[in-house]
């Protein structure tokens, strides 16, 4: 029996011969027989499974890619041993083959050229030429300005290898939009409270919780795979779900309590809950006594945050606030106030996350069953390479000293700030490498991003699809999809430490190459070969695996390997042992000494946020379960499920505007920015009358995306006003308001 590695080699030769044979015979019948393999249901054909883990979103569920005898990938099914997926992939994972078969994929390296009339165009180039050019530009940059003037935006597994290159090159400016644009506030808040952050995947024990509280989190529309599975188990177990959301999300529809809160008032509700739980003595006295610091200060702080006070702000009735608080307390410690994931809403998000952390603390849920578990990951040794050079400057130098002291990751918006030339700065970033993230959709304030790009010496984009950012690149390097490459092993933390292998199920299509090859080739050209002392990444993987008692061959067979926990317990505080937290006081800080020291409020306060004026509606955005980011809008399988987004409008509002269900309208925001394309109106009772809702990731402007171009409206386009979180630089994006235009605004201009 042939092993999987041999299979790949044989198939390329084999299909070549078969193709030759077919053309010689040119028989309709033979051709039909060949095609019919594809018409037979997948489970009825002979399939070979290849282990992989999904890269469509960031959950990285492990699975098997099944390939038939013609070398075609037929389906992707979850790996049953994987704690992320438990054998069931979400629709994006199942539809991952659409990413592989997408004819609009980037196929060859592209280099920007200028025509005689001044217009730019992309010309196809060879890898040699493209890599040489990138290396040349990077070399020039470090010679003239220093390697610290390069920045890398990366998202996804492959970013690790590119980061390795950039660190070897000497730049510390490596960022992912997922901090300042997404989960940054809660990481800082939880670290300030518990000394550890929430991690990704979140360490939430939804499976065993008796009361799940969701503050705006829309599990079920976001497909955090095992969280949805666990929420389903919680529903089976009769657990109470309380959802706080101005919109009836899917999670809200499955909840026992839906609190249709007025947008931007969540802190008031959280403070009121803390008030009820403290003053009605429903908190976990032993836990609070043993593990927390600052309880008396907290009690004094929430003295006036009564449900009646909160009612006036949030429109949630006092008896509901009390009843839900009682439910939470009754179920404690198996209660979980979910920290959410994308929490950059209004600029005070760190404080809101602090309120969530505090509420969890007084109910005694941290590090206990039904609340937050203690995750563990496999620690793989790094392949030995020379130490990285120490950079002399970093992006933080673009800001006044002492700002963002609490920030432990690089701010993507900080990179933009550091790129735009500023008389106060002695230098600015001059080169960007963008890996696997469509900046036009992931960063707010598009005009700032464009301004930054205009000031760059060069922009290199590495991606699989011609996303909108690709249009601005100087050099485009096409990467192959996750189904066509090896990558670093997945070592995400979970209840049990687990490793997952990604192995190619097919040779890279077209002229695409994997990230490790691109990094190594660039390394060679930049004199950094020492940092890539291996032939290919399989060498690295095998070396790493052998160090922990496994091997590449074993991982190829099983896909996922689980290990025994080495440290602590899954729920270390269940029985209230002695424990020290990694905070200044060694305890859970209800009163944050860290924040206090930096001059921020040590306990969250409610502040009022701007509301839309008449005729404008707050732009809320989120996910749909069949798509993720802006990267799946062109995927044919997922496009079949949803090919455009729609703007949700309350029926009363629609009646005022005389907008009918299904009508296409344009959106204009408070800064006068108009959506590039029209968007379908969905008139629905699920949305509040003061807001509208858009699913993120549509409204693509790159024509090369034949299915996604021009469909729907881009919410990122309309997020032009951000409120900076002073604590960690997060960009609060939900303070944008839109109005409706029923006629094509660009037609008028033409006339």
């Amino acid at each position: 029996m042939t092993t999987r590695r041999d299979f790949i080699k044989i198939s390329t030769a084999g299909t070549g011969a078969a193709a030759l044979g077919l053309s010689v015979l040119n028989w309709n019948g033979v051709g039909k027989a060949f095609a019919e393999v594809e018409n037979i249901p997948a489970s009825n054909t002979e399939l070979t499974p290849y282990p992989t883990y999904c890269e469509v979103c960031f959950w990285k569920c492990a699975g098997w890619a099944y390939v038939d005898t013609n070398g075609k990938i037929r389906k992707i099914i979850g790996n049953e041993d994987d704690p992320h997926s438990n054998g069931r992939l979400c629709p994006r994972g199942t539809g991952g083959i659409g990413m592989y078969y997408d004819e609009d994929r980037l196929k060859t390296p592209l280099i920007r050229g200028k025509k005689p009339d001044g217009t730019s165009y992309f010309r196809e180039a060879s890898w040699e030429e493209a890599l040489d050019l990138v290396a040349e530009k990077m070399d020039k940059l470090r010679k003239e300005h220093g390697p610290e003037c390069l920045a890398l935006f990366s998202h996804g597994t492959g970013g690790k290898m590119i980061s390795h290159l950039v660190k070897a090159y000497g730049s510390p400016n490596i960022t992912a939009p997922s901090f300042a644009q997404c989960r940054g506030p809660r990481e800082v808040a939880f670290t300030a409270t518990y000394g550890e952050d929430v991690m990704s995947p979140e360490r939430t024990d939804i499976r065993d919780t008796k009361c799940l509280v969701l503050i705006g989190s829309h599990i079920g529309e976001n497909m955090h795979n095992n969280q949805i599975q666990e929420m389903s188990q919680a529903i089976d177990n009769g657990s109470t779900i309380i959802t706080v959301d101005p919109r009836l999300s899917t999670a809200a529809s499955h909840s026992k309590y839906w609190l249709p809160i007025k947008p931007a008032t969540d802190i008031a509700l959280l403070l009121a809950w803390i008030h009820v739980i403290i003053y009605e003595e429903l908190y976990d006295k032993d836990y609070v006594e043993k593990y927390t610091f600052g309880f008396e200060e907290l009690k004094e702080h929430v003295k006036n945050s009564t449900p009646e006070w909160a009612y006036g702000i949030t429109t949630i009735e006092p008896h509901i606030i009390r009843r839900t608080a009682h439910e939470m307390a009754a179920a404690a410690p198996r209660t979980l106030i979910h920290p959410g994931r994308h929490v950059t809403w209004y600029g005070d998000d760190t404080q809101r996350s602090r309120a969530i952390a505090i509420l969890n603390a007084i109910l005694g849920t941290w590090d206990r069953r039904g609340g937050f578990y203690n995750p563990e990951k496999v620690h793989l040794p790094s392949y030995p390479t020379p130490p990285y050079p120490k950079p002399k400057r970093s992006w933080k130098d673009a800001y006044p000293p002492g700002k963002y002291n609490l920030v432990n990751e690089v701010l993507s918006t900080g990179i933009c700030d550091a790129t735009i030339p500023n008389p106060d700065l002695s230098c600015h970033l001059r080169g960007w490498i963008v890996y696997g993230t469509n900046l036009m959709a992931s960063l707010p304030e598009q005009q700032k991003t464009l301004e930054a790009i205009a000031n760059l010496d060069f922009l290199v984009v590495i991606d699989t699809m011609p996303m909108d950012i690709v249009g601005y690149a100087d050099i485009v390097l096409p990467e192959c999809t996750y189904l066509e490459r090896y990558d670093y092993l997945r070592t995400s933390p979970h209840r049990e430490p687990a490793l997952a292998l990604r192995m190619p199920a097919s040779e890279p299509k077209y002229e695409t190459k994997p990230n490790w090859w691109i990094a190594k080739e660039l390394g060679k050209r930049l004199g950094l070969e020492d940092y890539f002392p291996w032939e290919n990444i399989e060498e690295v993987l095998d070396w790493q695996l052998k160090k922990i008692g496994s091997s590449l061959e074993e991982m190829q067979r099983i896909g996922v390997k689980k290990f025994k926990r080495k440290y602590d317990d899954l729920y270390p505080l269940d029985n209230l042992p002695d424990y020290e937290f990694n905070t200044n006081t060694g305890k859970i800080e209800l009163y944050s000494t860290e924040l206090d020291a930096e001059g921020f409020d040590p306990m969250p306060k409610y502040t009022h946020h701007p509301e839309p004026e008449e005729g404008y509606y707050r732009l809320n955005y989120g996910r749909a379960p069949m798509h993720t980011f802006s990267r799946t809008s062109n995927n044919h399988n997922l496009w079949d499920l949803m090919n455009e987004n729609s703007v949700w409008i309350n029926p009363k509002v629609a009646e005022l505007w005389e907008i009918k269900n299904g009508q296409y309208i344009w959106l204009k925001n408070q800064d006068g920015i108009i959506s590039s394309f029209s968007v379908k109106a969905r008139v629905t009772e699920r949305i509040r009358w003061d807001s509208v809702y858009l699913v993120h990731g549509f409204g693509h402007t790159n024509k090369k995306l034949t299915r996604a171009y021009g469909r729907g409206a881009s919410d990122s386009e309309l997020v032009t006003k951000i409120t900076m979180d002073p604590i960690m630089g997060g960009t609060g994006m939900r303070g944008n308001f839109v109005t409706f235009l029923k006629e094509d605004p660009r037609k008028e201009v033409k006339a």
């Binding site: 079949d640 949803m642 269900n661 008139v683 629905t684």
Partner: protein
Amino acid sequence: MKEELFVSGRDIPNIDPYLHIWHWQIPLYLYLGGLAAGILFFAAYYVIKGKEKQMQTTVKWAAIIAPIALVLGLGALFWDLKHKLFFWQLYTTIRFTSPMSWGAWTLMLITPMSIVWVASYMKEMIPGWDWKWNILNRFEAWVIKYRVPFAWVMMVLSVILGVYTGILLSAFNARPLWNSSILGPLFLTSGLSTGLATIIWMSKDNHERKVLTRIDLVLIIVELFLIIHLFMGFLAGSAVKTEAASLFLGGEFTVTFWVFVVLLGLLFPIVLEAFELRGYHVPKWLPPFLILFGGLVLRFVMVEAGQITRFLY
């Protein structure tokens, strides 16, 4: 506010947002089938009654239209099939629960019979006509000898053909507009009436025309009665039925149906034919034309509107 939508992007052509899987080929076939059934019925009837001599057009000349209509109808049907190469599967089995199967077999029998019928009159219609082969001459003689039994068989088959065009639709309980037992008799009556209209138009014999016009008048009144009964049934039925009827009572088919089918296709002909029988001068072609037109529109409207109606859940 009640809202129902597909969340998974379903938009199957010809099925969403409402069903439209049968296009013009089906109502055309139903019309031509009914027409042929009507013609053949009366041709057979008058042969059985022995009134061949008085009703020449009915028995001989108009009968030519029947096989032409049937072949055209079958052609339209075949065109509508989406898996054409397998059409012969229809004739490998008889399925008694499927009106389409009855139809397939009935057509299989009645089409050659109608061709034989016309062929057996060729010598009378075209003097000097000669079948070249002896076997054909002998066959012709056999048919002429057994013309009356032949006519009985054809009459029965033509009734089945006429009624089946309606039962075909009424057997679909998923389409509330069609799911009424009145549809069978309605389409039969309409078929007979359109058959008569054709014969009347073609005939030059005043006596023949008078006899047939009287019968036609009765048939149209029956048809009108059946339509009223149909709507009474809808309005007294369940929610899906009243919803279906609303398409014709204020909905998009209101004008088309009540003006073209009822007013022009039924009421006008009643009045015109009544006057004609009273002796007033009425253009000869007008009543038949209106009846034929009304019958065609009836089929088109019923097939199109019926597909829009559905169960509500």
